[in-house]
């Protein structure tokens, strides 16, 4: 990533992690600057979720470093990482189904002790997601998929993070809801200055909202660049945006090779 003199908020260096004998992350390095939305694109099994889990401390890396504003956090427990200002909004919402919506949100602030601040953040979350305020006393498991995703993001916000790791917020949502969620993600980034690291399969929406992007394949970063440039890239268009390339003969080539292999 371009170095603009300041230190990145999140810096991942040569990270490797394993599931037993299987190497899922094969030496990933990336940077997220303060105030940015950085997206990591990749297909199923590319290692996107594993990467986020390793960064947020749910999994421990075998090698490599993760540093949050300069201090190394790899191998720390998730509660200490949440305390240092990084929160992970997991894939598939993972809400607390039998707790009320409000209790779910309050659990997001578990590591915080200042009650007044927590209460004002709760108000803030309700401003961004008015539907959650309407359903505050309802059991979270009875919410629709989109509302549960909003709850998961809101719960993450309650930790008052400096950086938020979002794992596939578009999973299983209708195009309209995806648009709504991503509008809110962009607003949170602009208005609340929350830095975001966004992992997505839906490359189109992710590149629309992001400033910078990485492409992850089989545990390696194979490509990176400004989001606009990635959108223009032939390979990303072909393999992630589904644009069909015309060949000289005017037919689609089925055995296209990626240039990074």
């Amino acid at each position: 990533m371009s170095t603009n003199g300041t230190n990145p908020l999140l810096k991942v260096d040569n990270l490797e992690s394993y599931y037993g004998p299987i190497m899922a992350i094969r030496g990933v390095s990336l940077e997220v600057n303060q105030g940015q939305i950085v997206t990591v694109l990749g297909a199923n099994g590319a290692g996107k979720t594993t990467l986020l889990k390793t960064i947020s401390g749910v999994m421990d890396p075998e090698k490599g470093t993760v540093s949050l504003s300069g201090s190394a956090i790899q191998g720390s427990s998730p509660d200490s990482i949440v305390n240092q200002g990084m929160v992970h909004v997991p894939e598939g919402r993972e809400i607390f189904p039998i707790l009320s919506v409000e209790d779910n949100l309050k659990m997001g602030a578990y590591t915080r002790t200042n009650r007044a601040e927590v209460a004002s953040d709760l108000k803030l979350v309700y401003e961004y997601f008015p539907i959650l305020e309407e359903r505050r006393s309802q059991e979270a498991g009875t919410l629709s998929g989109g509302q549960q995703q909003m709850l998961a993001i809101g719960r993450g916000l309650m930790a008052k993070p400096r950086i938020m790791l979002l794992d596939e917020p578009s999973l299983g949502l209708s195009p309209l809801l995806i648009k709504e969620i991503f509008t809110i993600i962009r607003r949170l980034n602009r208005e609340q200055n929350v830095t975001m690291m966004l992992v997505e399969q839906n490359a189109k929406v992710a590149l629309d909202v992001a400033h910078y992007g990485y492409v992850l394949e089989l545990g390696r970063i194979v490509m990176s660049g400004e989001a606009g440039k990635l959108q223009q890239s032939k390979d990303v268009q072909e393999f992630y945006l589904g644009v069909q390339q015309e060949t000289q003969r005017g037919q689609r080539r089925w055995k296209q090779r990626k240039t990074w292999r």
């Binding site: 427990s77 929160v87 997991p90 809400i95 707790l99």
Partner: protein, 291 residues
């Protein structure tokens, strides 16, 4: 009047079953493991109180012994999780089952080695005293058991609904992974749940010992409490209490109105019927995940 007395004594027994069942469910919900030593926890709690208060042993005042026993059982539960069970994290359920069964044996023999294998009576101020309501004669022990259980239930309810730690315990049991993501210290919460189960077991033990004698095999009562937990709906705290009451009530009535021997079978017969008719129990919390 006869029936009323049967009901009261059944309820009193049921409260003890219910409290042990509560211990089962607390630990099961939080850690997805069944603690088959829960009955032996109860027995140990009773013996610790007996050891402190009986004049043959230390002879402390009853209430001080009760507080000491509850505290000690809480600490024991916490340390047991911290030192032994946390190392089993990620092992199969079967390993946990066998470990807790073995733990039960260990507790039983330790209790036997310290306090002997003969049945002993706890010198409790509520044992052997009668209370009269009009023509109705009730044992003080039975009334106290019911009252204490009601109070404990209300306290536990408030704890789980109102306090941050209690809600976090619920959260960790509903979705352990998400609790982990939110920075809730799941492992410490597990230890605290074991402590809570130890405390509840100690109270159950003291109540149980107040209405009769105890010996180191008293913990086998845990099997009946396990049946009660399943009948009530394994995984539901009110269900555990309700299951305990149902089992407690069915016993004296079966003893009174059915041929000899049926009162021992009745709880398990009910268990079999429940598993066929309503396998999730009376109060079940089954939640399917939406994608």
């Amino acid at each position: 009047m006869d029936i009323l007395q049967l009901i009261v004594s059944g309820l009193a027994n049921g409260c003890v079953y219910g409290l042990i069942a509560l211990g089962f469910v607390l630990i099961y919900k939080a850690t997805e493991a069944v603690n088959f030593a829960q009955g032996d926890f109860m027995m140990l709690g009773a013996f610790i109180t007996l050891g402190f208060t009986n004049t043959d042993y230390i002879g402390l005042p009853f209430w001080i012994s009760v507080i000491l026993a509850i505290g000690l059982m809480g600490i024991l539960g916490y340390l047991l999780d911290l030192v032994v069970l946390r190392r089993m994290f990620g092992q199969s359920q079967v390993a946990m089952v066998i470990l807790t069964i073995a733990l039960g044996f260990v507790i039983r023999f330790i209790a036997g080695a310290i306090w002997g294998h003969e049945p002993q009576a706890l010198e409790s101020p509520i044992a052997g005293v009668d209370v009269r309501f009009g023509g109705l004669v009730l044992g003080m022990d039975e009334v106290v058991i019911i009252v204490v259980t009601v109070i404990l239930t209300i306290l536990l309810y408030l704890f789980f609904i109102r306090t941050k730690l209690g809600v976090a315990m619920q959260a960790a049991s509903q979705n352990q992974l998400a609790a982990y993501y939110m920075g809730i210290p799941v492992k410490r919460i597990h230890s605290l749940i074991w402590a809570l189960a130890g405390i509840v077991a100690a109270i159950a033990g003291i109540l149980f010992a107040s209405k009769g004698t105890i010996d180191p095999t008293a913990g086998l009562l845990g099997i009946k409490a396990f049946a009660a937990a399943v009948i009530g709906g394994f995984g539901s705290l009110p269900g555990a209490l309700l299951g305990g009451l149902v089992v407690g009530l069915i016993e004296p009535f079966a003893a009174r109105y059915l041929p000899a021997g049926y009162s021992q079978i009745a709880p398990y017969l009910l268990l079999v019927v429940m598993l066929i008719v309503r396998p999730h129990g009376i109060l079940s919390q089954i939640q399917t995940k939406k994608v």
